[in-house]
């Protein structure tokens, strides 16, 4: 009797475990695995081109700024080590304080943000946060959730318009923000940049939360929880062998030339 009861129990547990698993796989196609990195990169290229066609996001033509951003990006990529993505950093001409991520490792940065950052390290901490969204595939999850994988990859021009709209306005949820913050702190440390720059930069942002220029900045979209994010970023302690290497740029000169 006991044996037969136990067998029944195992059958029940197994059956419902399978239902959970199967339903998780099929019921909600938000899984970023649905889109391969190669496909993501191909899509990303198209989206970046589309976004840059929009006069709001016109690419900034300033060799000095470009090379500065490339230098910061390179430092972070070296800190990251192996990545499936080929990063591309694009600066667009807009006074809004903004930076966002387009699929395929494309990070778009406004000239307004560069002017707002008091040091290249501050800009590096924003870029590191965005790279967190890339590596954790938050953007892809978001798009698949909003549109579904079939629509996303359909290549339809109306869909493209919708996607670019989403990309330039998407905010992430609190968990994703915290993941990106954590990622940024670690990446900064590995890149020999003081990880607590993130916290000091957040504090600066917090004082400016009412600033109209920041209303599209995804990094501050989780207002109510901003304090706890600052606390978390502050409590990140780099390892004993950590040594900050300054990013060697004439930052004031670069900002003056914007």
């Amino acid at each position: 009797m006991q044996r037969s009861i136990l067998k029944d129990l195992l059958i029940l547990l197994g059956m419902f475990g399978l239902i959970w698993l199967a339903a998780s796989l099929f019921s909600y196609p938000e899984n970023p695995q649905l889109l391969s990195i190669e496909k993501e990169e191909r899509l990303g290229e198209v989206y970046v081109d589309l976004i840059l066609l929009n006069p709001i996001f016109r690419e900034l033509e300033n060799e000095r700024v470009d090379s500065a951003v490339r230098m910061i990006g390179k430092r972070l990529e070296e800190g990251l080590g192996h990545s499936e993505y080929n990063y591309r950093f694009v600066v667009f001409e807009n006074e809004m304080i903004n930076a966002f991520t387009v699929p395929g490792g494309n990070i778009l940065i406004s000239s307004g943000l560069i002017g707002f950052c008091d040091s290249p390290e501050e800009l590096a901490s924003v870029i590191a946060h965005e790279m967190g969204h890339v590596e954790e595939r938050h953007v892809v999850s978001r798009l698949i959730k909003e549109l579904g994988i079939d629509i996303l990859t359909s290549g339809n021009q109306y869909v493209m318009g919708e996607v670019t709209g989403l990309l330039t306005s998407t905010s992430f949820d609190r968990k994703q923000e915290e993941e990106a913050d954590q990622f940024a702190a670690e990446l900064l440390e590995h890149s020999s940049i003081e990880p607590r720059t993130l916290a000091s930069f957040f504090r600066k942002l917090e004082e400016e939360l009412d600033n109209e220029l920041m209303k599209h900045f995804e990094i501050v979209s989780t207002h109510p929880n901003f304090r706890s994010r600052i606390r978390k970023a502050l409590s990140y302690v780099p390892g004993d062998d950590f040594e900050a290497l300054p990013i060697d740029l004439d930052w004031e000169g670069i900002r003056a030339g914007l």
Binding site: I5, I11, L12, L21, S24, S27, Y28, Q176
Partner: protein, 161 residues
């Protein structure tokens, strides 16, 4: 292990059959009542069991079977309520595991409902209807012949032979 003999349908009084059927319907009622806070209906179900304790083994079996099968459904529902509240409170994503869990919980609720309905109809006809697992557990608990223990009140039993 020894079990008490099972009564045949024609040996069970109509009043007893109705009480046994009532157990399933009672569970539905408490389940509906307990929707916002699923754990409440378990409390009500346990009370129902104790109130009907002395109505004989047939009623006890059906009440227990209904009660036991309700426990996992209730736990699943509670989990869903907690998960949903946490997601809203902390602004977490409703992940695929959440939706999978929701589907599983709904499936469990539906299966429980169908089996209970069948159980109620069979009970009304004086028939034993065993759910997977829970039926066996309830039968085992109600019909198993327990060894006497000294502290309880004396009971008259037929002689051993």
């Amino acid at each position: 292990m020894e079990y008490h003999p099972l009564p045949q349908p024609d040996e069970i009084e109509v009043r007893v059959r109705e009480d046994a059927m009532g157990a399933y319907f009672m569970m539905f009622a408490t389940a509906a009542m307990g929707l916002p806070l699923p754990i409440l209906n378990l409390v009500a179900a346990v009370i129902y069991f104790y109130v009907n304790r002395d109505k004989g083994r047939f009623v006890q079996f059906h009440t227990l079977q209904s009660l036991y099968s309700q426990i996992p459904v209730t736990l699943l529902n509670s989990g869903l309520v907690v998960w949903t509240i946490v997601n809203f409170a902390k602004d977490y994503d409703f992940t695929s595991y959440y939706w999978g869990y929701l589907v599983m919980t709904a499936t469990a609720g539906l299966i429980y409902f169908i089996f209970s309905l069948v159980g109620a109809v069979k009970a009304r006809k004086g028939i034993f209807y065993y759910f997977v697992f829970f039926g066996k557990v309830a039968y085992h608990q109600v019909y198993r012949i327990r060894p006497e223990h000294g502290t309880s009140a004396p009971k008259n039993r037929p002689p051993d032979y």
